[in-house]
Structure formats: C-alpha cells, structure tokens
Subunit: 271 residues, 2 copies
C-alpha cells in the first residue's frame, strides 16, 4: 500500500476536496473509480483495544486498512495529507450506542484521545466488477427524485466474534446477479480480501436472517430481475451495528455508503 | 481456522502435553509436522493496544493468529483447552526490555491483566517445503553435542512501522537453497501468508544489514553449500526485538525456536 509516483491520484484527492468544501454529500458508490474506499469508525482510546481486537477476530467484515495514532486525524499510509474530520461526505455521531446526529464535518467533535479505524469497503471492487462486464445494480438505478442510489445493506442473524465490550451481527451488502454471473462476481471479488473479498453467501437470504430484500436496514432497495439471485458480501457497516449493540460512550462513523476515498488503488490492494 | 472433527489433532495435543510435563524443552522445528506453530508475546493490558497496532502495521513479521482476552491463558480459537502458561517448551521473561530469565513454566508470573498474542511461525510451512522436495537445512544438521539445531535468525536494518511505544527492526529466519529451489521455496511459502508467507529477500544479506551469516542473532548457524543462496523470511522474533528496543515494563515470550504448537493445520491456514 505504499503510494507510487507513477499513479495519478488526483481523482481521489479531488473527491476528498469536494467533501471538505461541503459540496459533495452523497453516497460515493461509482465515484473516483479505481481508488479504494474505506469505512470509518472513530472511538476513544479507552475502547480502541477492544475494537482493534474485534477487527482482528472478524477480518471478513472488518478488514483494517489503517489505524491512526490517538488524536491524529491524518491517515498517513493510505491518504497522506487527508483530514478524516472533513474529508468524508457525511458522518454519523453515536453516543452510548444511539445515533444522535448526521453532520458533514466533525472538527468540533474531535478530541486528542480519538483513534480512527479505516476498513476496506466493497465499493472498491465495483470497478473490477464493471471491468469484468458485470453490472452493479445500484449504479444503474436512481431514486424517484432522480438522485443516486446507495447499495442495499442488511443486518444478518450471523453473530460476529465478540472482543471485549464489542459484539454484534454481521452486516452485508447485496448486489443481484444471474447464477452464472454470481460465480463470476465471486471469482472477481475474491482477489480483494482487504475490501471484504468473496461473497459470504449466494441466493438464500432467509438462511442468514434476511426476510425482506425490499426493505434494507441501510441504503436503498434495488430491483432483482427474474432469474437473478441476491449475492451478499460482508459489509463495513458491521462496526456500526456493533456500536449500536455495545454502546461505547462516543463514536463517529461514516454515514452508510458515504465513504472515505483513499489514495490507494484497487489493484494495489489485490492479491 | 474453525477446528473440524475429521482431522486427528492428537499429535499437536501430545506435544503440548509433553511441554506441560516439562519433558519437552527443545526447539519445535520438525515436530508435530502439519500443525501450525506460533510465536508468543504476552504483555500487560496497558501495552496491548500499541502492540496490536504494531502487528496490524507490520503483518509480514507479525501475522496474528489469535489474541486472548486479558487474564485468559487459553487460546480458544487455535488450541482450545491448551494453557499458554505451561504448553510451550521454553519461555523468556523481559522486564523493561531486558531479558531477565528463561523458564519452562510461567504460571507463577501470570496476572489478570496479561494479554497473549499468538503470531504465525515459519516452522509451519516447513512441512510444505519438505513435501515439495525442498530440504530444510537446520533439520538436516545437528550441534556438536548431537542435539537438534534451531533455525538461524538475524536482526536486519529494515525498520518496522512504529505503533505507539513499539518500534524495532525486522528479524528474519534463513534457509539456504540453490537459486532454482529458492524460487520454488518462494512459491510454496507464498500460500501461507498467516505464517510469514513468501520470503522478504533472496541472496543479498548485506543489503538488509546482515554481515555474518555464520553468527546469527538467535538460533544456530547452518551450512551454506557452494551454489546456494540464503533465503530470508520475516520472523516472529521481531516482537522480541521490539520489546528490547521499546522497553515495556513486563513481557513474556517464547524462547526463539521454542514455539507454541496449535491445533490448526498448515492447510487450514493456506490460501
């Protein structure tokens, strides 16, 4: 993940700059294609060991790209000179596990004891899916008001491994494919383990506790055409489900789908 | 890494039992073939976040297999019912970064605030090297008194990424091969990223700060035959070099080469 000078990283830097100015505030799916996107969770130092252990024990939903030193808002490895307090389109604030606000800037909430965790996001491999000739449904559809759709995300009945105070269910994102394309999508995404990798399941939502595909817990429902099956990937909203269940005193997260765009390319993360 | 009932895990359990009784106290290279071996570092909870972050930032020398809850000496994922206080052949005790003792049992030193880190060890892939028709030199040679050799390990001039209070040089293990076999050894071991994976370097010790192959910093020198080159793998003694440099108040580690043998097979860890 060292940055190399031969790659033009301006598309990622420009999108972050548009977030910082407040101009860009929508889901990042489809933007800055080819650059890895990251989930954010910020916790006080007192909770950081337990959460880092939660990530170590649950690498599929929580693949760590970077963890900052306490108080430092700059992710020096994956986006040098970026500022995690301003460079995401939208943030969610949690107190004692309750969502208490959604804001575009968290500079006023920043504290010297805060540690930021950046986890790989499946939006990263959507470029590879498109290159492989596979559509990404939420990119093909719009909401009734014409604005872009976010990927649908669902709470499952699969428990994560507990670590200290943190426990919670696995959250998944869903993209529909024909059964043949689902196999191809599994193969393509398996190359990207640090952004959730291969699907966790294909085709049987009820067996993982999802009863209504048309009512996602986060994001927007998408059309599943006749002959298509839902394909589920582990999702970086899993930490927010753990925050809701485990109630740390304070947490800052990205608003689901509103990711941090890094300077690292998808191919730099591929195996 | 879930244990599966079709695999007979008794060879691992029996070796641990021989460690517990005090009967087995030599290096574990070549023993319980096919079972993953692990490096151990035990630290007080107050240092555990910094060290967990050190592992996250240095995954090649510090690939985490399991981290225990504070005070719990049982590695529930990779060796249920084992006891990390007795089940290694030999331990090293550090106070303020100084090696103060070598013991076969650490029950009297155990505390409710201690966290154990288990990191993959390259002894794990030696079985795969042997299956691929590649010799492992330290297994072929003995010391003048007839006892088994340990793998040679060297401090390099490559700094690890710092995390909180922890910093230190990368430590490597070395096995000599002909240039053609070195490529084969790289391919074979690349399948095992959680036990250090592919070599970090082949054939140029001085460029990584190693001046005398016949004087390893840990373990025993082995013969390098005419036409052979040294092949270097990241080594799980790296945490002990970080302890020596970073001086946490207290640490327990395995004696280099005297590993914890887990219930997990090398193939369960392979990618």
């Amino acid at each position: 993940m060292e940055t190399r000078s031969t790659i033009d990283r301006r598309p990622a830097q420009e999108l972050r700059s548009r977030c910082r100015s407040g101009e860009f505030k929508q889901p990042t799916t489809g933007f800055a294609p080819g650059f890895a996107q990251a989930n954010l969770l910020v916790l006080p130092k007192e909770d950081a060991f337990d959460f880092l252990l939660f990530c170590q024990r649950n690498p599929k939903p929580c693949p760590l790209l970077e963890v900052t030193e306490p108080g430092d808002p700059e992710p020096k490895q994956i986006a040098p000179a970026a500022d995690l307090r301003t460079d995401l389109p939208l943030y969610r604030i949690y107190r004692n596990g309750e969502l208490v606000g959604e804001v575009q800037d968290v500079r006023e909430l920043w504290r010297p004891d805060l540690v930021a965790f950046l986890l790989g996001c499946s939006f990263t491999f959507e470029t590879a899916l498109l290159r492989a000739g596979l559509g990404v449904r939420q990119l093909e559809e719009t909401l009734p008001d014409g604005s872009a759709k976010n990927v649908p995300m669902y709470r499952t009945n699969i428990p994560c491994r507990t670590a200290g105070k943190f426990s919670g269910p696995l959250v998944v994102s869903m993209r529909p494919y024909t059964p043949a394309d689902a196999v191809k999508a599994a193969t393509v995404t398996a190359r990207y383990p640090s952004v959730h990798g291969a699907p966790i399941q294909i085709g049987d939502p009820s067996s993982i506790g999802i009863q209504h595909l048309d009512r996602p817990d986060w994001g927007n429902a998408v059309t599943i055409r006749p002959g298509e099956v839902p394909v589920f990937w582990a999702c970086g909203v899993t930490p927010q489900a753990a925050v809701i269940q485990s109630k740390p005193s304070f947490a800052i997260a990205h608003a689901p789908g509103h990711m941090f765009v890094t300077d690292v390319t998808d191919e730099e993360l591929a195996v």
